[in-house]
Symmetry: C2
Subunit: 253 residues, 2 copies
């Protein structure tokens, strides 16, 4: 039985707490948050606190808070010989700097409060400063997910940038598609099947092979027609991504 | 029974022919292609030809060829009082210029030869120059798909640009994610669950609401760290999309 204290109440903390509470081989002994109000709903399921000096004994302390608060919080923790991990893709393990046994437990997924997540399919990227802690983290990760990876801090940073491209930036392109549809009284739902298929295609083809469209075909007439109906911001993005695709496939604008 | 002649042998033509041949209420009476070799595999299922003057009688002639060849091919067709449609998102209906009864039958999906498509879920955007032809096209569209939309040429052009953003450009961002992973010996498969979830999220949230990440949070430290590990091309795209997200949510770099 792995005993866990979870610190935080954001989107990831919310879903992770929910998931951990449901596992028989894990015990969430306490949840900490700066404001008790946000974790009050957990009162019937585990101990809650807003006092860092009142943290309970546990095997793993999981800091699931925003990136820029990790360093400050970790400085305040007085935990000797206890494994403390953060859950961030963008933060180096070393930022847990006053902690002797440190690690990272990074679930690579996008979390919204209102949308349930099946953790079994969430890739968990783990890192620790020694073999014993890594084994413990691996046990924890494998008890909630089927996809566990050993990823060091440098790799994790690259992975995090990649995720910005394939998640945050992709979503912004969806938003631009939505914007263009709305302006022309076209229901955005028409685009949902192609969005789904585009994401699915790369399960069997590499994105390099899956590329299609006017930029790849070097179809300058269509590209000019498209640019003519876009606003400035959209034109700038269209032009840059078209150029990048053309360069990737060895053609020039 | 709607009789159809299909012209073309590209990815869309391939999948559309296959789909139409399987419907009991439709009859593919002939498939035309410039080169017979590419449609030879259809010989046992329907008549094939490479001679535009030998086209059979049908109710609808579907031109499923590349955008820039539609105009030239339509000029060569000698079909009086027959409905002729093209299947392109980017081409105006008027480009079928010597045709009296013209229309558009645009399946909004990405087609790869090696990947099967369930047409029932493919949105079909139809347009015709008169009510009778529109009804005929609607019958055809509804016999293969559950999602049929009346979309005029101007709207279709906007839809096509939107599709470039949410499909072609999105796939290019996947390719960049893949590139970054490969360079750092990270298996790209780690990103597949977040890619899928990002595409799925907007079925219940608008892309505007679904936005997350350092740009939205205005997290300048993470943004700087990300830029530091990207190459020039990646930096340019990262910077522009970050700026665009920040402007969308009312923040400045």
């Amino acid at each position: 039985m792995i005993k866990i204290v979870l610190l935080g109440a954001g989107n990831l903390a919310y879903h992770l707490t929910k998931c951990l509470l449901n596992k028989n081989d894990l015990e969430v002994v306490q949840v900490y948050n700066r404001s008790l109000e946000k974790i009050n709903y957990l009162k019937s399921k585990t101990a809650i606190t807003n006092n860092l000096l009142a943290l309970k004994e546990a095997d793993i302390y999981i800091i699931a808070i925003s990136d820029n608060a990790i360093f400050e919080l970790s400085k305040k923790l007085i935990l000797k010989n206890k494994l403390v991990v953060h859950t961030s893709g963008g933060v180096d393990m070393k930022e847990l700097h006053s902690i002797s046994n440190k690690g990272v437990f990074y679930p690579l997924q996008t979390f919204s409060k209102d949308k349930d997540i099946d953790f079994l399919k969430v890739p968990i990227c783990i890192e620790a400063s020694n073999k014993k802690d890594l084994d413990l983290l691996e046990n924890l990760a494998k008890s909630i997910s089927n996809n566990v990876y050993n990823i060091n801090s440098e790799q994790r940073k690259s992975l995090h940038v990649s995720a910005v491209f394939v998640n945050n930036f992709v979503n912004h392109l969806y938003a631009i598609g939505n914007e263009i549809c709305a302006k022309n009284n076209i229901p955005f739902e028409i685009l949902l099947p192609i969005i789904k298929e585009t994401a699915k295609k790369i399960e069997t083809l590499s994105p390099f092979e899956a590329q299609t469209g006017p930029a790849k075909r070097n179809d300058s007439i269509t590209i000019a027609e498209h640019l003519a109906i876009l606003n400035n911001k959209q034109q700038e993005i269209y032009t840059l991504l078209t150029k990048s695709i053309q360069e990737t496939y060895g053609k020039k604008l």
